[in-house]
Point group: C2
């Protein structure tokens, strides 16, 4: 093992990292973890896998150095080990976007149908937020919002959207975001609210990218 050519060793290590992200469940787990740290049970529930299965995947990723774990009482909380992991999945996404006809098909068929407008960039949102021109809408579930969100955003989970329309000012322009570039929540929100006459657009990516870029965030109560 250690007598090999250094190049071989490095490539083997890089391949190990790639293997650790080379599974749909694991990518979905990473998307969840990008929102904030989570226990195994919650994660398993979110990705519709058994607890054992989720635990396996998480440990695999931990061995590869993608995620880190922290024990607190009975619970083990996993989190991303490093923001470089976000760059990695973003790079993965970009390659797939430019090269996979299947990705193109899905994007056209599902996403473009719900929002044909250009998304708003992070810097653009930051400027307009400071100028008080827009309402920022976080459509993720309340627990994810609580773990951290764009400073000044209001939380209105997609499932409660119709029930709480009154919370929204229909005169202000709205910028919606959720977990990341292809998170379905913000697309749905945009489609539904636009049908009701709201002026709404999407942020190009989601909360994890906003936070990783060093832009202002806030968390709800500092509870567990």
């Amino acid at each position: 093992m250690s007598t090999e050519n250094p190049k071989q060793i490095l490539f083997t290590q890089f391949a190990a990292v790639a293997k650790a992200v080379a599974h749909p469940h694991r990518l979905e787990l990473l998307e969840q973890l990008a929102q904030g740290e989570r226990s195994v049970e919650v994660l398993a529930d979110r990705v519709r896998a058994t607890v054992t299965n989720a635990s396996q995947h998480l440990q695999h990723m931990r061995r590869a150095g993608l995620v880190a774990a922290r024990r607190s009482g009975k619970f083990v909380f996993y989190r991303l080990a490093d923001d470089a992991v976000l760059d990695l999945v973003a790079a993965l996404r970009r390659v797939a976007e430019t090269q996979s006809a299947e990705v193109d098909r899905v994007v056209r068929g599902y996403f473009d149908q719900r929002d044909t407008l250009e998304p708003v960039t992070r810097t653009e949102l930051m400027e307009r937020l400071q100028a008080g021109l827009v309402t920022v809408l976080d459509v993720r579930p309340a627990d994810e919002f609580a773990l951290g969100h764009v400073a000044g955003a209001i939380n209105l989970p997609l499932v409660e959207l119709e029930r709480r329309l009154a919370d929204l000012d229909s005169k202000h322009e709205i910028i919606a975001y959720c977990r990341g570039p292809y998170c379905v929540l913000s697309y749905e929100a945009v489609a539904r609210l636009r049908a009701r006459g709201f002026r709404i657009r999407r942020l190009e990516d989601g909360y994890p990218e906003w936070r990783a870029a060093g832009l202002p965030v806030e968390a709800a109560s500092p509870s567990a």
Copy 2:
């Protein structure tokens, strides 16, 4: 398949891309392809694999959209499908660098021992090159140099280094580069030339990154 949740489909596609790079041989093939297009036979030789095996890996990567192939007579030439692939392997490398103790060990043991100085960045090299302050040294094999190199660089393959020392001006500062960040060639060159009293440093990455950044390159004869 196509009735699934769009998110599932996308994650499955992203995972397919990740799988396509999740093997040491494939990463090595990609490093070779980043220098320029190559036939299957040559590639197999470079990564010390059988032709059949190399062909399999290349086809796997082609299906995933990482590489493209072109037939010319009896030969099939493979090349990178997109510069986004370079970003992907760079992201892989960065994650491994920050998280893998094994990578750290190898880097310290092998690379840091040969060159402790800070490498030169691309923009820094560009400036000093224009000012005529430095000699740029390409230590890759002649055939790779011929496929494309930093404009103005001189080629002195590592194997011929000692034999052709006279080609180098010992007063000028030298910047050496090769295939990429952890390519052993430039490290070796730096170690050997510095021992002989040359003022030499390394470029932080290699030819593929230079070209992808849109900086000036040139190719030898437009042969093949």
